[in-house]
């Protein structure tokens, strides 16, 4: 029933490249000074996507669980680096905690979906596992970085209030609770908002892709529903995880706030 996918030829891609020139002309005529960045951006996009295409084709061809897992871990590392770079502050030991958070919540959610809901055979089938984890990590890293940003900001700016509470006999949990709650909330807002507007304001990329590739729209919608809930679960788990791991790092067993561990991000 699905119409065959129309393959793109190199000529088609060249015509698409001409579209970037439109942006270049706008920048040039309005003196936006973006030509250089546009050129670099366009070239990077092409190179990065081609590279991903080559790697995916290679991994798909290998049909090996180890290769898929290796790629998944690489993706989690890249997402963790991005997640700790975005917040205005960082703390020593933040990177591996972000990695632990994103890899555990990402893999858990991905394999729950592929194993229990979709029923993928074999369990590591890259065509399903890799794009699903990609979406989870993309959303998860946004959640984790927003959550970290909010938590470190609160702890830094309200350290006197937190220390006052500790001085009056609050446990570290009692002193940190409000800050943790606000941070998890902040991290979850984007994914909650996206559930509100999905299909009305935005057509998700995955669904669009499936429809372009000739899938039945209702089939694509079913997948998208699974994906939305999966992203909500993964982001919620990720925010809670990173908040708790950060809390355990910055509040020690003597119920002190180790404020010296928090640093402003360079640049």
């Amino acid at each position: 029933m699905a119409s065959p996918v129309i393959e793109l030829s190199p000529v088609d891609l060249a015509v698409a490249a001409a579209l970037v020139l439109v942006a270049g002309v706008v920048s040039f005529s309005l003196r936006l000074g973006l030509e250089r960045r546009l050129a670099i951006g366009a070239v990077r996009a092409v190179v990065q996507l081609l590279l991903v295409g080559v790697v995916l084709k290679f991994v798909f061809g290998l049909d090996s669980a180890a290769a898929v897992l290796g790629l998944l871990l690489f993706m989690a590392v890249a997402a963790s680096v991005a997640a700790v770079r975005r917040p205005a502050r960082r703390y020593r030991g933040g990177l591996w905690r972000a990695f632990l958070t994103l890899s555990v919540t990402g893999l858990l959610t991905t394999f729950t979906v592929t194993g229990l809901i979709v029923g993928v055979e074999p369990w590591y089938r890259p065509q399903y596992v890799i794009p699903l984890l990609g979406m989870i990590l993309g959303n998860g890293l946004t959640g984790v970085s927003l959550c970290l940003d909010q938590l470190l900001e609160t702890l830094d700016e309200r350290r006197h209030e937190i220390e006052m509470e500790l001085a009056h006999g609050a446990t570290r949990w009692e002193a940190a609770r409000d800050a943790l709650r606000a941070a998890v909330r902040r991290g979850m807002i984007p994914v909650v908002n996206s559930m509100m507007v999905v299909g009305v304001v935005s057509l998700p990329g995955m669904m669009t892709g499936q429809i372009l590739a000739g899938a039945d729209p209702l089939g694509a919608v079913k997948y998208q529903i699974v994906v939305m809930f999966m992203l909500a679960a993964a982001t919620a788990l990720g925010c809670v995880f990173i908040a708790l791991l950060t809390y355990r790092r910055l509040f020690n067993a003597r119920h002190q706030l180790a404020i010296a561990l928090i640093r402003e991000q360079q640049e």
Binding site: H160, E161, E163, M164, E165, L166, A167, H168, G169, A170, T171, E174, R254, H255, Q256, A260
Partner: protein, 244 residues
């Protein structure tokens, strides 16, 4: 070295033994020892910036001692649990720190902690408010609408109603005018005498220690001679002198 001139032979409330105090990599004091008996106020004297605040935060365990130990009635904080220890050895910060919300919410908050004991003492709060020239209407006020002096008085009330064994006051009257300072000092003195509590009072005011305390610990005499100083190099340092 224990400060001489203790009021009685009663078992000490708070003991600080051979404490080395530092802020991060900087070592501020070495060999600080002190025994505070019930009913006693001891002043911590020294110029601004000498590390009085750091010493008080170390005693409260909000930062670690580099070396040495603090005990309350012979018990180590680890044994009591840090929140319970801090609830009984209460640091009152120099800058008044209040949470968003009303005065009442701020006063009630510490009674909601797990380490809290006892009910919120409504009548006592009213009496303290009157003595510190705060009106009942202040209870409903948003803390952002208080002057710094009012905030400091609220913080003092919050500390007094918790009835800790030991107060650690960091410049308790720095934001108060003369009259309010006199009331606050009177309250602190009465509270310590009435319950047999103890208090360490950090002050850079040259006369407050004399008014409030019978003896003083002169902190510069414990000043660390630097990161490379040999342990116990302050063995010969003069004892804290009575301030009057």
């Amino acid at each position: 070295m224990t400060v001489p001139g203790a009021l009685s032979d009663a078992a000490p409330l708070l003991t600080v033994k051979d404490a080395t105090v530092g802020a991060g990599p900087v070592c501020l004091f070495e060999g600080v020892s002190l025994a505070l008996v019930p009913g006693e106020l001891v002043a911590l004297k020294g110029p601004s910036g000498c590390g009085k605040t750091t010493l008080l935060r170390s005693v409260a365990g909000l930062i670690d001692l580099v070396r040495g130990e603090v005990r309350l009635e012979g018990r180590a904080p680890e044994e009591m649990g840090w929140p319970a220890f801090r609830r009984r050895v209460l640091l009152v910060h120099q800058q008044p720190v209040l949470l968003r919300g009303t005065v009442r919410e701020n006063l009630e908050r510490p009674f909601q902690y797990r380490a809290a004991d006892g009910e919120f003492p409504e009548a006592r709060v009213s009496a303290l408010f009157e003595q510190l020239r705060l009106t009942p209407e202040h209870m409903r006020r948003d803390v952002r609408n208080l002057s710094v002096g009012e905030q400091q008085r609220v913080c003092l009330v919050r500390a007094l109603i918790l009835e800790p064994a030991v107060f650690l006051f960091d410049e308790p009257t720095s934001a108060l005018d003369e009259e309010a300072t006199a009331s606050a000092e009177g309250l602190i003195r009465d509270e310590v005498a009435r319950r047999g509590a103890g208090a360490l009072v950090a002050s850079h005011d040259p006369v407050q220690p004399a008014r409030l305390c019978r003896r003083a610990l002169d902190l510069p005499s414990f000043a660390s001679s630097g990161a490379g100083a040999a342990a116990g190099s302050n063995e010969e340092a003069p004892h804290g002198e009575p301030s009057h």
